[in-house]
């Protein structure tokens, strides 16, 4: 075990990948000389040089497309898109090319590409830097979507993502970078399963990414109400690990889904849909969700806080679902 941060864990994962496979390179805006917008790649330029830690001009559409091309050409690119909001500029390449290429070429071309991006609100960055669009990405066949919420996953998800022959999108929540803790030295994580982060019997709280922490905190607080909550970390947003979700609900019979995306059309809706499709008769109460208010995120802190899921709102939803 050693003490580290989410940021350092991500950096270690990048370093390891760059060391292990000469085909791996990192490309994106300010990943090099600037040291990474969120300092994730700091120091890597000095270690691996400008060919492999490649600063790009501001041109999200092209450099994501270049990543696709480089993947086709035999490389294993890691593309950093600074923020999920900017990834909208590159969606055409991701949806119309990266995700579709293998299928529309009749299986001839795979695109082994990893795209990392920051997501989420909570830092008063306002409407153009705070969205959570993971749910959109989770809608697209042909890609996998990961949301590391823990140090283990920050450290461990990149390598299996690089081994995956198809495009993988990795969402790093902006509020996690400074999170610190102990990390085992030789841990291995998978990129296909959801994980029970806290066992409980009364209600399943399903969360991912930046909201796992608040959800665990809510679970602790719920003990005061005599509610023993199970907390599930989705980890993999596409494909969803239905079995783990259904098993939990089969045990608790009540569920609250926590998601930073806007309520309507959220990933939470999809989780809810799967649960009612697969475990309808297990449910003792209507499932509930705690999502982002349907508003472009405002700058003022009290308004931003009000827009986002909070420990209190999660607790309230869980209580309501438990009839307390």
């Amino acid at each position: 075990m050693s003490r580290t941060s989410y940021r350092e864990a991500l950096r270690e994962a990048l370093r390891e990948a760059l060391q292990r496979d000469p085909h791996v390179f990192l490309m994106g805006e300010d990943v090099g000389k600037y040291g990474g917008t969120y300092a994730v790649s700091k120091g890597l330029l000095e270690e691996f040089g400008p060919e492999r830690i490649r600063d790009t001009p501001l041109s999200e559409l092209a450099f994501v497309g270049v990543g696709i091309g480089a993947a086709l050409g035999g490389m294993r690119p890691i593309i950093e898109v600074m923020t999920v909001n900017f990834s909208l500029l590159a969606l055409d390449q991701i949806v119309n090319t990266a995700a579709a290429l293998r299928h529309m070429s009749g299986g001839q071309f795979s695109v082994p590409l990893v795209i990392r991006m920051t997501t989420g609100a909570g830092r008063q960055l306002a409407a153009q830097h705070s969205h959570s669009l993971e749910g959109w990405y989770a809608h697209i066949p042909g890609i996998k979507v990961l949301a590391p919420a823990t140090l283990e996953d920050a450290r461990g998800m990149l390598w299996p993502a690089l081994l995956d022959p198809d495009p993988v999108i990795l969402f790093e929540h902006g509020q996690l970078y400074n999170q610190e803790g102990e990390l085992a030295n030789d841990m291995v994580v998978d990129i296909h399963s959801a994980r029970v982060r806290r066992e409980g019997h009364d209600v399943s709280l399903i969360a991912y990414g930046g909201l796992l922490g608040k959800t665990l905190e809510a679970a602790e607080r719920l003990t005061a109400d005599g509610i023993d909550a199970e907390v599930i970390d989705l980890r993999v947003l596409r494909p969803l690990d239905d079995a783990t979700l259904v098993a939990s609900v089969g045990k608790t019979h009540r569920v609250v889904i926590v998601d930073e995306g806007w309520t309507s059309g959220s990933l939470a809706a999809e989780v809810m849909a799967r649960l009612v499709e697969q475990a309808f008769y297990e449910l003792d109460a209507p499932p509930a969700r705690v999502c982002c208010a349907e508003v472009p995120i405002p700058y003022a802190k009290h308004l931003e806080d009000a827009a986002l899921p909070q420990v209190t709102t999660i607790v309230a939803a869980a209580r309501a679902v438990c009839g307390k």
Binding site: H23, V66, M75, Q93, T97, H103, S105, Q108
Partner: protein
């Protein structure tokens, strides 16, 4: 302003006089280029017919009139090079080495097609010949080609990536971003702009404030040249020279081929935006008949030889159609196949 948007057609003039000078190539190359163009022409004429018969569906974009470009460029590339094309890519696929029958089968939607019937006319792919499609997003292939070139650079492989796109694509942000990256990083991409003067119904002067496309390349310090795209000799020579710069200099190059499509944009196009007179004027520059005339004039080809060649190609087309007809439908149970790569890698 209103002039620029005014309805009615641009009387765009062909790039220059109809070439009549002797073809400066040895016979096998000279006749090879003719064969190439004719194979595209006959394949596409048949495709149009089969579209009418409902055998081919979806969107079908014919290259008829523009064959000199694919022919002249493709023979300047090496097998290890990469090619990226658009939805108007039957000719490029064919000359790159994809078999006519697998192209035809693809357009029929049969699993014997080069993309197993998944792609259709707009999405021909072929890993063996490094033919990377077949992209129906205008300008969508440009970043891809820069990425292929970057992969070569990073792996120390000295190859060329040729990227085809229409002049309409030049207005897209993807063009600009891709040119800049290729130039900034000095990557070996041959940008082949097929300027057929129209993007669907939009004439070049209605889509670009600067219609001399070389000025765009200058904005990125990329060397550029305009070429008579109706003359396969000019195309081939210019491309040979450009490829040499790209390959040895390991840098990008921009070629603008001035050409014209004789047919509608796709099978749904009522062609309201251009006059028949304009089309006829360009047809006088038809790449196949002008070239044939030159070959004959210099005694490299007789009418009998031409007829024999044409018959042989006709035969190839018939066989391709037969192959496609006899092809099989992929079982519906395979629907989800190749959404992801199966464990153990490619199924191709």
């Amino acid at each position: 302003m209103s002039e620029q948007n005014a309805p009615g057609s641009a009387m765009a003039l062909p790039p220059g006089p109809i070439p009549t000078t002797p073809v400066p190539f040895e016979s096998s190359l000279a006749l090879g280029l003719l064969t190439d163009m004719l194979r595209i022409r006959r394949l596409e004429e048949k495709s149009a017919e089969l579209y009418g018969a409902g055998k081919i569906r979806g969107f079908l974009h014919l290259y008829i009139g523009e064959e000199a470009v694919a022919a002249g460029v493709m023979r300047a590339l090496k097998p290890e090079d990469a090619v990226v094309a658009t939805y108007r890519e039957h000719g490029h696929a064919l000359l790159r080495g994809v078999t006519m029958r697998s192209i035809m089968a693809e357009m029929f939607g049969k699993q014997e097609g080069c993309s197993r019937g998944r792609g259709g006319s707009m999405h021909l792919f072929d890993a063996k010949t490094r033919f990377f499609g077949g992209n129906a997003i205008v300008a969508g292939g440009l970043p891809l080609s820069v990425g292929l070139a970057l992969a070569d650079r990073l792996q120390g492989i000295r190859r060329v990536t040729a990227c085809f796109f229409g002049e309409g694509a030049v207005a897209e942000g993807a063009f600009h971003e891709s040119m800049n990256l290729a130039a900034l990083w000095q990557l070996p991409v041959l940008f082949c702009c097929e300027n057929n003067l129209y993007a669907m119904g939009t004439a070049l002067r209605c889509s670009e404030s600067q219609t001399d496309l070389r000025a765009k390349a200058a904005g990125y310090c990329v060397p550029a040249q305009a070429v008579d795209g109706m003359d396969v000799v000019a195309v081939h020579q210019a491309t040979l020279a450009a490829v040499e710069v790209v390959r040895t200099g390991q840098q990008p190059y921009f070629l603008e081929f001035q050409t014209y499509r004789f047919r509608a944009h796709s099978m749904f196009d009522p062609e309201l935006y251009r006059d028949k007179a304009e089309v006829d004027r360009w047809k006088e520059h038809g790449p196949i008949h002008t070239y044939t005339a030159r070959l004959k004039a210099q005694g490299m080809l007789t009418e009998e030889q031409f007829q024999a060649l044409d018959a042989q190609i006709g035969d190839e087309v018939d066989k391709a159609v037969e192959y496609a007809e006899n092809g099989s439908w992929e079982p519906v149970a395979n629907l989800l196949r190749d959404v992801h790569t199966p464990a153990g890698g490619s199924t191709a």
